[in-house]
Assembly symmetry: C2
Homo-oligomer: 324 residues x 2
């Protein structure tokens, strides 16, 4: 009863920001992402007869209590689902550079879900696997697939219709995603808490939701027709709207720092100089810049020149779950 | 037919961002401001028999065509109102430090309105004068009064009930307003254009308006009871909401720069360290910080230490219109 899975993280193009059900990780809106090739988690799960609790090693160290509880509570769902009573030893290696501004929870729970399900001997559809990964961390449901992925919010109260599906394989459209590190401090408010506060207090939240359907349509079309300009424009606007919605929360949530502004204005200036580049920002200070692979080198070098930029890592669309 | 008036600029505590009538400068919501002691305009207007057009000197230089047209079109309103046919020579001295991030239009049109009306020999109520100043630049209507001022949006189509009134004289409550210069470039979009775009395209605009009435109530109360904490909190939130509303516009309006973020986070950190300071930001990158006069020195020195801060000027509540 042992299996190893590898999952890449993903970056949302159309953002997931708010849950309709906290416990089941059911989102208020569909979201669209790209799974990335450079940042991933490899996780081995072994269900064992003779142990009396779950044991979780993260990067070869015993994880802290908070993480132990999270993993155990996720494994409870796997036990419920599969009927096993065994506890598990989990070994997880996170190849997400420290503070790169990527949530390791997406690749983390995708790899954990895949390894667990395989370890208990089940064979599931990717959509079923996606719905299970979702219950560890919402965005994990998108990392089951490679390339361009949409997470359906679903309508059901039990969440069974809330999972991701692939829009376009990673091999079909190569774009460059530059991860720009401007701040390596931990963010002062977690995504989970930030989402909750935004949904409950921001006067802009319902207007944000009202605009998403149109953003999704534009994004699906842009991906289908590989229209980079159209994709970049909607992605940038969607990220700005998400942050504006958070800034309206009470108390306000402001993830942006000096370097965030520098990169934003730099990307806008790149466009004025004829380079088709666009930014997106998750719940943090760091920025991701999208561009054509042919502009990648220029964009990379220009970003590194900015005083407030500490590091830039170039990614491309990556694979979904693989088993090792 | 000659008169000289001096008007101080003002900073909005509850922001004016959007017009219900472009030509008459009628706002979509009430706003509240403090008139400041340090930044002002002194304007002399002389209506003359023997000249064939208006002549406008700004800081002892003939103004550019765009400004000449603006002034002339404002003087047309004075001529209509007073029945005179004479053209005027206007001399204006602007003591608003270059790029301090204060609109010189507020003090500029308040001084121009007051000097013109006196030069044509009329005596008006301050509220009537305020309604006239409003037609040069909306925020100018608030600079007629000293101290704490509210601009009533009014309901009438002709705008006759849209003028400012004093909430509290400048001598009744001394607070410190530090004008923090982080960027001396001209902003890339004018307030007039930014307002228009926000009203027409931001999905957040109606939610912004919905929150204003409550912000106004809290602010009036805070001013009445001289409750600095309550004032600071609502002012900061109101400014953030205004910027969030603009960020949602299409295309997005983003006045913030690296230094803006640095000052925002610095002010929040000051509060964590026990100093009661709050920020507000107008349509630009520069920040104004409110604090108790007893904390003024500490706040000033800490702001100057920030790398991205170029200059800090300390202001206090100032007088309304005076005649020289």
């Amino acid at each position: 009863m042992k299996a190893t899975a590898k999952a890449n993280t993903n970056i949302a193009l159309i953002k997931y920001w708010g849950k309709r059900d906290e416990k089941l990780f059911l989102p208020t809106n569909n979201s669209i992402s790209i799974t990335l090739d450079r940042f991933y988690t490899v996780t081995t799960v072994e269900f064992k007869k003779n142990i009396t609790n779950d044991i979780f090693y993260l990067n070869n160290k015993k994880a802290d209590k908070k993480d132990q509880i999270k993993i155990s509570s996720f494994l409870d769902k796997i036990r419920d689902f599969s009927g096993t009573n065994f506890y598990a030893v989990v070994n997880s290696e996170n190849k997400v550079p420290t503070a790169a501004g990527f949530a390791s929870s997406a690749s983390g729970f995708a790899a954990l879900a895949a390894a667990s399900i395989k370890a208990v001997g089940l064979e599931l559809d990717k959509s079923e696997l996606s719905a299970i990964a979702r219950q560890g961390s919402g965005s994990a449901c998108r990392s089951i697939y490679g390339g361009y992925v949409e997470w359906e919010k679903g309508e059901r109260i039990d969440g069974k219709d809330s999972f991701a599906k692939r829009l376009l394989p990673e091999t079909d459209w190569n774009i460059s995603i530059l991860s720009v590190l401007v701040n390596s401090n931990n963010k002062n408010i977690s995504s989970r808490e930030g989402m909750k506060r935004t949904v409950e207090t921001s006067p802009f939240y319902s207007a944000w939701l009202d605009t998403i359907e149109k953003d999704l349509e534009i994004t699906r079309k842009a991906i289908k027709y590989k229209d980079f300009k159209s994709l970049g424009e909607v992605v940038e606007k969607n990220a700005l709207k998400m942050h504006a919605t958070m800034i309206g929360a009470e108390p306000p949530i402001l993830y942006w720092q000096c370097g965030t502004m520098d990169v934003i204005h730099h990307v806008r200036n790149l466009r004025l100089s004829g380079i088709s580049a666009y930014f997106t920002i998750d719940a943090g200070a760091n920025v991701k810049v999208l561009c054509h692979p042919s502009d990648e080198k220029k964009v990379y070098e220009s970003l590194l020149k900015l005083e407030s930029v500490q590091n830039v890592i170039t990614c491309h669309p990556g694979k979904g779950i693989t088993y090792l």
